[in-house]
Structures are given as structure tokens and as C-alpha cells.
Symmetry: C2
Subunit: 339 residues, 2 copies
Amino acid sequence: MQSKNRILLSHGSGGKLSHELIQNLFVKYFNNDYLDAQTDSSLIKTTGGEISFTTDSYVVDPIFFQGGNIGKLAVCGTVNDLAVSGAIPKYLSCAFIIEEGFEIEQLEIIVKSMAGEARNAGVKIITGDTKVVNRGKCDKVFINTAGIGELPSLHRHFGFGNTIKPGDKIIVNGNIGDHGIAILAAREALSFKSDIASDCAPLNDLISKIVGNPASIRFMRDATRGGLATVLCELAESKNLGIEIQEDKIPVNEIVAGACEIFGFDPLYLANEGKIVLIVDGNDASNILETMKKHPLGKQSSIIGTIVETNPKKVLLETSVGGRRILDMLAGEMLPRIC
Amino acid sequence: MQSKNRILLSHGSGGKLSHELIQNLFVKYFNNDYLDAQTDSSLIKTTGGEISFTTDSYVVDPIFFQGGNIGKLAVCGTVNDLAVSGAIPKYLSCAFIIEEGFEIEQLEIIVKSMAGEARNAGVKIITGDTKVVNRGKCDKVFINTAGIGELPSLHRHFGFGNTIKPGDKIIVNGNIGDHGIAILAAREALSFKSDIASDCAPLNDLISKIVGNPASIRFMRDATRGGLATVLCELAESKNLGIEIQEDKIPVNEIVAGACEIFGFDPLYLANEGKIVLIVDGNDASNILETMKKHPLGKQSSIIGTIVETNPKKVLLETSVGGRRILDMLAGEMLPRIC
């Protein structure tokens, strides 16, 4: 082991090695005027109006998986939380907690990937922090990103869902459960390992195509931990409305469906990192669907169900074989450390 | 062990237990309209102009110590990073990474303390995240806070220090090294345990008293990891100026000085969590000092040195016995996980 290629406690001391790490890694790759100033906080010019503010910590295990890594996830996840609120994601903070002994080369791959994904999503990583903990006191690396987005004055906060009403349609932008199964595969070295990639992607560009007529969009949420079912259960509960979805309209990759059968998982509860659930005006649903299908991240979009007056607070799944079952919020934990 | 009194992996699943935890702990104590909305991001109305954005993760070990705990630190630290930029701290995010099995009662003490400190500092905790990792994969609890502050139009970003010039004076607002020694004491169960408390405090109120005349204030920075010496070394280096400080003007508690002698630490490099270093116009230094001394967090304020033309990029310490030594940036790590 060459210690100079590994993270030392001193990299988190705030002293010389911290400065080297910031300069040679973070400033190099994240590369923007805000970071160059190297102050503890960054200045942002606002134009007035509303901004959206969010945070998430990422502790995914393993840190590298088919379709992404913890860094890509940390950028996309926070970008998506901003985008589903109706905001245009603009700025991210980025804070690392790193285990002593972690290979700097691996950190570099993660940081590079974050920089690329930030460019891809049109956001700037403008402030950060690095802490190092003794070996065995964390698991390789944890990343927190907080994000700021600008809310155009014509947009509402789409996360509230206060205008949802019976007759509204539910849309998802493609196959569900890919992220969950990709992580499972990376953990277990399963035979389907190379066949399924995480859907981890920034959704702000797709979302920007459909928020032009905000009156049609009642609600947006990315279906991450807890999956599609949990988003819908939360919504039915909080809005005192019924939700009916049809199993055969819900897009699921065959490999994911197969893996779920083998391992006893339900794709409805598997985590996604590139899927939004939309509630839209029933009259505009097919137009919105068409627009989404034209986007690379929306090709498999599907109208999966309807908001109803009957059975308030309940989510009913009409199964492919014609049965009905009530979906509940995720009660336990299917796959810990999925994001 | 009653498992219901401990954090389970399911508390981080995004499902039922996550919701209970959010409702019974975070929403209860942080208690504001923003959180009540329970969306993944929160909306902030801005008045235009500039905002300051910062982040820090807190991994202090132990999580409870004389004068504070990891939660109090997470609020004060980020409030201070905003305040030294010249901003008025307004909003915090708060993300927990918790070890499976952590006592919920301890978490409640931390959350309560964060809520109290946020009230004390006049900031609102408006968005958050909770992740749970398997036992042994983190150390009890890590907290990230990101913060947003509003920069009044007459303030500059005091973190840049672009107007510093020879003749300017250096002020600190009191005893240095208290936080470092409080952590050491909590770790080692030393005899001075009960005598020294961390200086952990939000400095925004003190700072608000002295930024009325921004032309006089050239630079502000809180002296955390790396201590007073590292802040000054960074400044001398980046501004290509010399700094001279006098040992007998630097306020150090006797107990801290004694502990440093025993353990071979230098108080100049010990972490603080309630100390600012100010560079001010030499002509206004005594006025600013008087104002600071009237504030509870500035009673021991002292002018400790001067910006000079000689010895650019160097920090010279004039010792109490009349010698001179050059201070360097912290090279190794005296006390890991100090914040």
C-alpha cells in the first residue's frame, strides 16, 4: 500500500493535505469561478422570486454499480428533487465523509463522474466539505449534496399536489425497479449482473419539456426509496383520494421482473433513480405522454392509472390476471443502502 | 435492548418507519411551515440580490461533550460559515446518517438541541434527509447541514479579503482552543474534564453588531479545523502579505494552556467553534474591539496583530519571551474528528 495514494486522516484536518485534495481533485474537476474563490461559502446572484432548497445524503453500497456510482447518484438525486418541485436546478453543495485508507484513485473516478453529471444536468457544484474518519468508522465514502433551484414565476411547487382531483391520470416515464436490481446485482454477483443498469439520470431536461403548461401538471415526485408504490400511498393518504393503477400498464424490464420473482421482491417497491411519477389533468394526459415519449429518458412512458373518488387514502392495483389488491406503504426494508 | 427505542434500518427505508421518525422527531422539534409541507424540497422567497450557500458534515467524536453535542455543532458551524461571509443566516438543511441500533433517545437530545440552537441563531431548518446504515458502517451519527443566508446589498463577501492592506489589524473574539480541549477531555476522561467547555456558539449576532461599516471590515473567517494559525497562514499565502501576531495578546484559557503543555498541543492550531478572526482597518480597530467586548460572545476580544509588508506569505509569532517563530499551516492532524 502506498499511503500517498490513499486518504489519510490529515486530508480532513483543514490543513495542508486538505488544501491539496481540494485543489487537485475538487477544484480541478468541478472547475468553476465559485469554487476558485475558495471561501467557506459561495455567493449566488438571485433574481428575486422563489428558490427551491433540498438535501440528500448518499450511502449506497456498493459505491460502484452498473449504470453509475455514488457520485453520479449524489448529483442526479438532488437535481431530481429540485426538478420535481418545478424548479430549474442551478447549484449544488457537495460534502464527503471518507474512510481513512480509501483509494484516492477511486475518489477521483467518483469526483470526475459527479463533474460530468453536473455538466450534463446544467448545475454547478459551488461549495463543499471533506471529512475523514478513522478506518472502520464509515464505509468507504458517503456523499451529501444539497441543491438550490430557481422556480420560474409561472411554476407552482409541484410537490404539494394540492390541485389533484378525481379523473387525473398517473404517468411514469419508464421501467421501474432498475436501480434496485442493479444494486442487488452488484452486491450479490448474480448471473444477470451485466444485463441491468441503474436508471440513475438527471430528469430536469425531460421535466422542462412538460412543465410549459403548469395547469395540467398537478404533482411530480421522483420514485426513489420505497419505489412507485410508496409515492402513490403517501399521495393517497395525504390528499384523501383514491388511486387505481393497472399492473399491465406499469413498465417493468423482463430481467427485473424475473429477478423480483427469484428474490421475492415487488418491483413496485424497488428504488428508482431516474423515474418520475406525474399526476396530470386527465384531458391532457395523452398529449403529455406523447411529449415524454419523444425524450430519451421518457421513451417507455406510460399512463398507469387514475385518481378516483372511491376508496379514499387507498391505492388499488388491478393485477394482470384481473384481481385487485391494496398497496400499502413499504413497511420494512427490502434493500438497505440503496441510495 | 428494546428495539423500538433504537434506530432500525427501516427508519431509513423511505417507508412507514421513516415517516414516523420524520413526524415524531424532526417535524416536531424543527417545527415550521416549510417542513410541514413534507415535500422533498422547500420553497424560499428571495428578495433578489445575493445569497450565500455553504455546507459542512459533522463527524465529531464523541457526539456529546462539555458545552455541546454534534447537533449544536452542526447548526452553529454552518450558521458561522454564512455569517463570516457577511450574510444573514436564514435557512438550513439537515441530513442524518445514523448507525443501526443508535438510541432514539440520544437522537432526540441531538434534534432538540439543534432546534434550540436554530431558534437561538434565528435560522429555520426547512429540509432534510435520513439514512440508516448497518451497525458498524458508521459511528453513531453523522450530520450534514447546508445553509443559505441573505447578503445585504451593502455587505461585501467578507470571505474574499481582497481589500486587506498593510496596517490592518487582526482581532479574535476571545479564548482560542476551548473546543479542541473540550473534545480531548470528553475522549480521554481527563481530570480537567468539567472545567473546560467547547466555545460552540452561533456568531451571527456578534457579527451583526460590527458589519455596519463594511469598509472597515476587510475579512472574516471562523477559526475551526486547523485553528487560528491555519486561517492566518492561508490568508498570508493567498494575499501575498505578511502577518505579525503577538503571543501575549492571544487570549488562551489557563486550563487550555496547561492541557496543551501536557499533551504537546499548540493552542494556535486547536479547533474553535465560536471564534472569528477579523481583519479590520487599523484606524477603526479599537472602536470595533470596544463594540465586540460589549457582546456576550466577544468579552475577551483582543487585537492580536497586524498585516505587514515585510515577509510576504509568512505569519510571524512574536513569543512572550521576545523570540520570533514562523507559523506554518497545520501539516498533520492533531485531533481527528474534532468537528
